[in-house]
Symmetry: C2
DNA sequence: TTGTAAGCGTTATCAC
DNA sequence: GTGATAACGCTTACAA
């Protein structure tokens, strides 16, 4: 692999000059510039980013800490993040905590070792202070672990509210809310939004906690069967909704005539299966873009427009709820 | 951030000595070693990997080039790869070609710039020679683009064969094969395996090509309706199988009584939906592990046990095929 | 057993 | 405009 020295030699200039044309900094005569450019071309030279990073103490690497990689919603989000990262001229190091403290420790060390320029924290963590100690810019997604770290979250309160309104407006009288782990702020916000409407209308609700990763189908089924007269179900993920719909079918309930169902996320699958699922869309596109926009500002030492940013969600009406006119 | 000099100063030794204890190389007195270790501890020192990499011309980074990130099978695979990579004491840079030549070019350059130690190539590419020119160890997964690059692939021929045998043994007389893009070797191998059995038995088959990413449901439906007497369908992915099953339901076909369906991949979803899908399991676990095992050998200049490695697949019988006794 | 110093490929400061 | 050169943080001959 050619180095800057090789280029300098070939172009009969010093490394300093080559560096200047590469970085477009400082004065350099147009003619010598062309000479250098030609040498670069001929030698197929690419500057060594490691050496550059060592000097600048910036690696041009952003790390993303995922909770897991096999969830549909997070995969969608990851795709956007990768795209936006490379478009911002950074590279993405992928980290998967899997709720394993040891893996997290390993990665925490690596962030330091590689002069990672920024961390996008999607995974939940009990060690936010260890992240802060790194003094590397951090953007949280879907969490709000500390007042010191900026975050981007869907408007979960609105999501809960929209779902409740839809269910109430289409006549539901007895509703189940299959939510995620109640320890998560996102889940709490959805619950608040959902309840805010339902309380006001005096509708009966039953709330159950489920895991987001591999929710237990048997659990869902037994809860549904425990309430034979339920007529509305709000699920905190489309996957939970899919499971609920199957239990409903087994119980010979008609959807949406007998029971209406609303999911969350709007993963691709929700529009592929029969019946197509009414759901609250979280825009992974908007979230990912906002994350990288903020990250770049942080890295460049600029002021953030919003410290805790909220992305609007949308009700997507499909076949698991009744049309209301 | 503390540097090796800080440690040296604190331990009253030279940087060389510190380096020796970090790398456990060369002689160093047990007592001074303890002194150094203590200084490292107190300063919370972690060696800068960038500086190390610059010297060694090895980054301890492995890159994985994905075709896309939102496919269930590839997400499963990525999770294994990340895990194995970090277990091998390497870090994972994630690259997503999305069949975009420009993105691929960008990444090709980056591999060079960062002294990436190895590339796991999952994406299809038309520029295998550009990869080879990098002279970085490469492992291909699910492809076989060149005799010069080692590969790991499921035994797709066996997969096709198992599916065909199952269908034939459970009485199918007229079969549709919804396969992936026929340009892929994996697809070709499945087809060969499938046909090898069917040809011998003289069973009527109709083969149709579909995209793996967002296969067209309407296309599937029209093909199924064009053969009202079809009694067996083999799909090259579970997603295609899901779509086929829905078309079948709309056509009031009973599964597996009227039509039997076999998918491919064994994604988690195939065991969640009703009916649970009979499928050919590709072991992402085995593939990912094999990939990293080979990669480490390549990086360490060791000989590979198998240049083109094949991972066995398995028929998982569930509810979309008839039991045969 | 330990220290000195050169070198990895860059960038940036300073002369010229 | 351009060229030496120190520095980034580390490893490794080589010397002591």
């Amino acid at each position: 692999m050619a180095t800057i020295k090789d280029v300098a030699k070939k172009a009969h200039v010093s490394v300093a000059t080559v560096s200047r044309v590469i970085n477009q900094k400082g004065y350099v005569n147009e003619e010598t510039k062309q000479l250098v450019l030609q040498a670069i071309e001929e030698l197929n030279y690419v500057p060594n980013e490691l050496a550059r990073s060592l000097f600048q103490k910036k690696s041009h690497i952003v790390a993303v800490m995922m909770p897991h990689l096999t969830s549909y919603y997070f995969s969608d989000l990851l795709e956007v993040i990768e795209d936006e990262t490379i478009n911002s001229n950074y590279r993405l190091m992928i980290c998967n905590s899997k709720d394993d403290p040891e893996k997290e420790s390993k990665y925490l060390k690596i962030f330091d070792q590689y002069n990672v320029d920024g961390i996008i924290l999607i995974s939940n963590t009990h060690r936010i202070n260890d992240y802060l100690a790194l003094s590397i810019p951090i953007i949280e997604i879907d969490h709000n672990l500390s007042d010191e770290v900026p975050s981007i979250t869907s408007n979960n309160f609105l999501g809960g509210k929209l779902a409740a309104e839809k269910l109430v407006n289409s006549g539901c009288k007895k509703i189940i809310h299959f939510r995620g782990p109640s320890g998560l702020v996102t889940v709490q916000d959805r619950t608040s939004g959902f309840q805010s409407v339902l309380k006001a209308k005096g509708v009966e609700t039953h709330t159950y906690d489920l895991a987001f990763i591999s929710p237990d189908p048997l659990d869902i089924e037994s809860k549904i069967n425990a309430h034979p007269d339920v007529d509305g179900i709000f699920c905190d993920s489309d996957i939970i909704a899919i499971l609920a719909i199957q239990s409903l079918k087994r119980a010979n309930k008609k959807i949406p005539e007998d029971v209406q169902v609303i999911g969350f996320d709007n993963i691709q699958l929700s529009n592929m299966l029969e019946p197509k699922i009414t759901t609250i869309e979280q825009s992974t596109e908007a979230i990912g873009k906002a994350a990288l926009k903020s990250m770049m500002k942080l890295i460049n030492g600029e002021e953030l427009d919003y410290f805790h940013q909220t992305i609007d969600v949308k009700l997507i009406e499909r076949d698991t709820t009744k049309k209301v006119f």
